[in-house]
Symmetry: C2
Subunit: 214 residues, 2 copies
Amino acid sequence: MARSADPVLAERRRRQILDAAMACFRRRGFHQTSMQEICAEAHLSAGALYRYFASKAEIISAIAEDDWRGREPLFEAIERGPDVVAAVCALAEHALETCGGDGSLVAEVIAESIRDPEMSQRFADHDAIFRRRLTLALAAAQRRGLAKLAITPDHAAGIVMLMLDGLVLRAAGFGAARARPLLKDFRVAVEHLFVPAPPPPRRAVKLVAAEIDS
Amino acid sequence: MARSADPVLAERRRRQILDAAMACFRRRGFHQTSMQEICAEAHLSAGALYRYFASKAEIISAIAEDDWRGREPLFEAIERGPDVVAAVCALAEHALETCGGDGSLVAEVIAESIRDPEMSQRFADHDAIFRRRLTLALAAAQRRGLAKLAITPDHAAGIVMLMLDGLVLRAAGFGAARARPLLKDFRVAVEHLFVPAPPPPRRAVKLVAAEIDS
DNA sequence: ACCTGAACACCGTTCAAGT
DNA sequence: ACCTGAACACCGTTCAAGT
C-alpha cells in the first residue's frame, strides 16, 4: 500500500508490524487480537500501521506468503534424494511442524482463507502450483528409477495433498501433538502408493504359471 | 441455556433461530453476519435470542451438531453393502455435498472450531468416534469377505479420514466445484487400499517359484 | 513524509422495563 | 414467562492535526 519515500524504513516497519502481529496472533488468535494490541506490540499508532497494511486481512496474507517460501528444498529431495518415501513423508512432517505449537498461526490463516475470497483465491493458486510441482517431482523420481508408483504421478500427488490437508487441519484444530500419530497412517499410505523398486535380488526368482483345471 | 416453562415453544424458537442463522451464514459467512441480522431474519429481538442461545458460537455449534447426525447409514453401507469401495466413496461424496454451495456453512464451522477451544474439543471427540466407527465398519466388511484390505482396518480408516479432511477443506475453501475432481484421486487411493477379492477365477493359476543362479 | 490519537460506524451482549 | 430495545463495552478503520 504505502507509497513511501524511504523504502528502507518502509521495509523495517513492515517487519516490525508483521513480527508484532505474529506474536499477538500466536498468543490469542487472529480474531481475538485487536489492532490496538498489534499497535502496542509494534510500538506504533493505529494510523501509522494503516500506512503499511491496508487491513488486518492483509497482515494475515503477508504472514501466509512468508510461510509458502522455502518449500522448494522438500520437492528437490523427492526428485533427487535416495529415498522418495522418506522425502514425501518429510513433506508431512514439515506441514506438522509449521502447524506446530498450540496457538498456531496456520489455523488462523486457514480460517481466514476460508472466509475471505481474496485469500481463498490466493490459496487455490498456490494449491495448483503445489500439485504441479509435486507431480513433476514424483515423475522425475520415477524416471530415475528411484520409485515405482502403483498409480500415475498426478493421482499420487493428489492423494498426498489430500492427506497433507488432513494433517494440517487436525494439527490446526487439535494441536500438533494429537495430529502426530496420523503421520503413521500417512506413511502407510505412501508406502502403498510408492512401491519401491526392490533391491537387486541376490537370488532371482522365476515365476511359472501353469494352468490347471478348476 | 433457557430454563423454559414451555418446552414446545422453546424448541420452536430454537429451530426458528437456527434456520434464520443458517440462512444468514450461508449468505454472508459467520463473522460477517451480525446478531442483529439473525434477529431480523428470525423476527425476534436480541434479548429474546439470547434466551435460547448463550452466544453466536453456541448457534454455530448447534448447526454442526445437526450436520453430524444421519451419517450412520453411510457406515452401515460399508458394513453390509455389496460394494465397499463404492460405499467408502459415498462417504466422500456426502462430505462434498455437505460442503456444497459456495457460502457454505461447513467452512464457517471449521473456521470457528479451529479458533474456539470448546468447539475444537467437540470436534476432536467426534473425530475419534468417527474413526472407531469407520474402523469397525471396515473390519466387519473384511470379515464378511466383502473387502480384502491391503493394510489394517485402522490404518485404512485413518488414511480415508485424512483424505476426507482434504476434500472438506478444499470444498470449504475453494467451493465444491473445484473440489469435485479430487474425488477421482480419492477413489484411486481407496481402490489401492481395498484390494477387492478377485471374482472366483474360471481357471485357477498355480504359481511355481524356481530358484535360478543370478 | 511520517506519525498521532480522537472520532466514526459498527459489533456482540446485557438488562431494566414492559406485557 | 417471555419479550423488547436502548445502553454498554468493545471493535476495525479513518482522518484532521501535529512534527
